[in-house]
Symmetry: D2
């Protein structure tokens, strides 16, 4: 019996061409695994296609809820944003996929896992670190880095190769943006984006929504609730997290929300430029933060910001299955105990504008904040506070004066 390899399969040209190549190069049985993170691809005919390409088996696995509940939610709670802009759409999905690939590899008794990520990107790292952490004994095959044995250089080469191996499928040889999509976002790279001096061709590019210019002229109000940091409802309707994200995608896409254009620093050492659409995610981050403003104290907020930055680095680097990610998540979860309440906001042409926030655990006190004096606040306390808060500055100034006088 042949050894098995599990292939992360999308049904596209790249991963389809890998099937015969794996058989030819390694004499493996190829188990294809199409993992659905909400990429909204056409799954019809996928089984047929995989079989025609020589796969011995095809798994189609829907992990959307796992992805939303266990990968996206912790990042939302942490406000993990890479380099101040990127909401980690692709980064968060890779470990979720790697985990499922390992699960199937174990079930099938496979000796290897193969992915189609390129040799210059971050995704190869995220897939492989995930696999290493969960199944250190499983071999990883990355055809795009095996330039000695993987000789295809273009889509034309791949189509040719497929045909030569009896796979006659209607692939398109035309070049477009390089994209990655899941329920959280879609990324676009390539074409005019390769030169940061160019403005993106948004009309050509956007998939999940429209530009602010094309968004409706009428604003739309939305309410959301959270319980312990987890989104619970939109506009009064309770939904599971994945449905909340779908609903917010619809709203955000309609109103031109969540389009960013970024030159980011990849883990492998170069800068790359992309346009990302995260319509629902951008709303979710903002809405969650709107609530946290009422509930978190200053010291917690400050350190939580640092932790969120660290988490963004860890996730971006593909280090999901590590003790550090677990420890950061434990920190974040601890802060979410009282992040419960309702937020209202308005969507209008790319803008999310707060329109009122309430929480049973709000730390805001109208009487304290206002100019009147109450039981809780004696203005004289501010004298003492400032005197001691400023004491180090004052002592320092006096000592420096003394030292100066002494020197002169």
């Amino acid at each position: 019996m042949k050894e098995k390899v599990v292939l992360a399969y999308s049904g596209g040209l790249d991963t389809t061409a890998i099937i015969p190549w794996l058989k030819e190069t390694f004499d493996y049985d190829v188990v294809c695994c199409c993992i659905d993170c909400g990429q909204a691809e056409e799954l019809d005919g996928l089984e047929e296609r995989a079989k025609m390409s020589g796969a011995s088996k095809l798994y189609i696995e829907d992990i959307v809820d796992d992805f939303c509940d266990n990968y996206i939610v912790p990042c939302v709670q942490a406000h993990a944003v890479y380099e101040d802009k990127y909401l980690l759409g692709t980064s968060m999905a890779r470990p979720a996929i790697a985990k499922k690939l390992v699960e199937i590899a174990r079930k099938e008794g496979a000796v290897a896992i193969c992915h189609g990520a390129t040799g210059k990107g971050n995704d190869q790292i995220r897939f492989e670190l995930g696999i290493k952490a969960l199944a250190p004994d499983i071999k990883i095959i990355a055809p795009w880095r095996m330039t000695d044995v993987w000789t295809m250089q273009s889509r034309e080469d791949e189509i040719e190769y497929c045909k030569a191996h009896g796979i006659d499928l209607p692939f398109d040889a035309s070049h477009s943006y390089s994209r990655d999509r899941n329920i959280w976002h879609i990324s676009h790279e390539g074409l005019e984006l390769e030169d940061p001096a160019n403005e993106p061709n948004y009309d050509h590019l956007l998939v999940l929504g429209v530009t602010p210019e094309k968004a409706p002229d009428e604003p739309e109000y939305v309410t959301m609730t959270f319980e312990k940091g987890v989104p619970k409802s939109v506009n009064g309707v309770e939904m599971k997290v994945s449905d909340i994200i779908r609903k917010l995608n619809e709203l955000g896409g309609k109103h031109g929300i969540g389009i960013i254009d970024i030159v980011e620093n990849r883990v492998v050492g170069m800068k790359s430029r992309g346009v990302y659409e995260t319509p629902g995610g951008t709303i979710l981050y903002e809405a969650h933060q709107q609530l946290e403003e009422l509930v978190l104290d200053r010291a917690t907020y400050e350190v939580k910001e640092e932790m969120g930055n660290k988490l963004s680095q860890v996730v971006y680097e593909g280090k999901w299955f590590t003790p550090l990610r677990e420890a950061i998540q434990a920190f974040i979860e601890s802060t979410q105990e009282y992040v419960t309440g309702e937020v209202k906001f308005k969507l209008y042409k790319g803008n999310i504008t707060k329109a009122g926030t309430t929480s049973p655990y709000s730390l805001y006190s109208e009487s304290l904040a206002s100019f009147t004096t109450g039981d809780l606040y004696d203005h004289h306390d501010a004298d003492g506070f400032i005197n001691l808060f400023g004491l180090p500055l004052k002592v320092r100034a006096m000592k420096m004066q003394e030292a100066k006088n002494h020197t002169n």
Copy 2:
């Protein structure tokens, strides 16, 4: 000869009432000092008003350029943002004012400085820490905290008090938002904002610009240049920083940019809610960051983000004249050496959208970022990189498997 006090004087009711009060309570000569940070107030008649109120002297000091060059620019370079939203408009101005007050106090031989900040806010801290650090020997008088001797509780009381002291000026007793304005921003507190559940009444509230809804339907492209992190020109016209900010305020205000609604944590321990307009500042932060994306490497960017957060805390807390602020600024300045280049962006109804960036020091390499292979990048290197980058995860997984087997 009487001892002198320097009074931070705005010409408004509050600080006008302080003049006779200082004379009456302490028997001081009152030297009024109106410090112009770009608040765009009517300065005509100010001298007359001060004199009528009993001041022995009035200084009108324009520190706009000092404020822009030495306080705003370092914060822009650091991307110092307090609690993820607030661009520190009031926080940055206070130390600049404190410095000038001390300068005049020294010149006049004054023994005290008096300010009209309330006893619940942050500004009292910022003024006083500034004064303590620069002139530890000078007495500070904060009438609003001296509830034993300062007995006025309302604008009506103040008007009454002024009249009783022969000051008959046309003050308005009506209540409005509590506002602070300078060239960088305007803040609004009070009225409906006191309950975070309320949506702000923007039409009533805004001063520097309009809401996105009322902004023009036509987008507007803008180009800016920076040299070593300092803004140099807008739309091809070289200007000093203060004029750049004025120009950007005009553009940003017109297009509904930079309006935020925040519940923030004050230094004195309570939450407060405000709406801030920072039209030009918001553009400036974004434009500067747009350029940094091309120029800063990943490691520097990451630590600089932390430093920016720390600076925001330090500045918010009024600790401008401290060794820590100086050290953070030294860090930031060191990173600005190559932040030189041109950015282009589009303003449209609250949105700032990048439209192309160039720099002679760009670290972006199109050939590196693209999918082709070149001299600089061998795909096999990624094998080695991932193997070592992931080695700790793999070793850990293996060791944990061993430990588990050993236990079972």
Copy 3:
């Protein structure tokens, strides 16, 4: 019926004098509460003394195990060290005491809690923040800050006052170091220590141990075990944490371990100088870290160091009962899952020298670390790793050369 106040009572002169003073000044019933954190004071006759002084009741509460398990252990696990030297001996005890005081106040229906901490120190803050967080409605009385009504200025004054109120006890009026002791440490302040230019008079000063010079000439080996970061045994004998600390205090004191001399920055804004003895604690920190070296990965270790520093600040500032402390502790606990194993070390004249460490979860791999090549490590991987790890530096250098050439 009179209102009650709970007094943190030590049996010493200061807190004894407070009893009649509280009755006289506020007409309270005084419930004394002597909380034992391991200060090893003579408790005999305490009840009699309290009663003679006019207390209506005396509680003697042993919280040593609570203190060790719930306050000390989390700080050990975090390696929380304030300003690189101070093991937080007093800081950790204050919230534990505050919690017990609140508990008794609730049980007794008391309206106030009184403590004898001075107005210049950190302890007043730690007591009061603890009380505010746990019982915001309870009034706090700090006689030493009430200089209007508390008029005693010296021990002589206090003895006089006691006598005048019928309390004739053998108090010593002589001045010594100001000390605070519990099972974890003893601190010394005052006398010659007040000038940092002076060498401490260790022979006069030390209580828990001897100087290295006076320690035995023979080294002593010790073994310890930990389970999930909690100390479990010393020299093969399983003990509860408090007994482990007692045992380590004995060993450390004997061998001159854990004496520090520090000028530290207090929360209230001034520097103070103290000598602290933490013989067992110093060993415990080192032993725990010795084990973590084997078990924690690099990334976790790095962030854990930062979290430990933050915890030291939070604890030093008395912010134990806060969401931030809880979140940091959640982070730390998550890292302790595999901190299980045995450490051996040698004590000799102030030195703790490692003598071997083992753990079932050790990440150390002899074959990986050595110079031989094995399955896990291919030297060629280092080529790829270094090429990508160094890619940003190389690209930057090339771009800077280009820019320079372009300029010239």
Copy 4:
């Protein structure tokens, strides 16, 4: 004319064998470069040895002062310590060496630089990142990773290879610890150290000093001065930094100071175990910190600790010639402005014990620290301070009580 390679040459067996190998494998002219960082090796006969081995030229470069002034001093000022123990002795030297190698390569017009670091260590990274940053166009040759063409596996192989190429030198085939030495430290790896369960064989191992047990029974007092963070004198004698380090090495070695035993995490992903001697360096770090305690304020100290940790990571990873290292150093330098004064301490059997510190810029105020009340400190201020400092905790407690009551 042949192309040239610059070889980092130590005169030992490893780098001597590389000379004929480079000629044979690449047909290069080999320019040897022996860079003296204070490793105290015998340089006599080195030229002859290099020439006999086939080198076309030998440089002997003394960079000790550059190393001390520009690499060690910044790390001392930052208190950069890797993983809480390692004073970066080897890490700091590598970039200094790389810089000199590049300098000579430029002078000689060489196309490549060759080093003898192994493929599992950190040093290969440090050398190569240094070279990449300073001379991105120069080729790097690391024979120990070139397992296809570098076939020697043992010292015996190398001796054999040398003999076969006419190099008959008295090399010792015996195995010892793997060591790296410079003026700052010596590291030891290998032999019994490879198992962390073993106690180090110190009597066999130590080179720069003795164990505490073997140190003198008499303590020795030392005084040092610093100016702006730079060490200036020892025991009243002004010296350049390198001589200060030499003097402190002598003192520290004699008294058993600065021996550590560590399991550390290498950059290439595995743990390694070493014993390091840093006698003078350990004293220098402590002495500098002793002075900083008097001079730095709390806020600066706290952030400086973080910066020191970051610098230790950056330096350990070989990223010396980067904008981040420059920015961190700018931060640190800014804090050193007033680190001027005298420290006195006592050395005794592994202990460094403070014995008095003075500085014209000391922020310590005896009157402030003591229990008496003075002009600068009003005990009532502490009331106000604590009330506001604790306000967030109190408000939170009240709000949580309210929320709880509301829920029940």
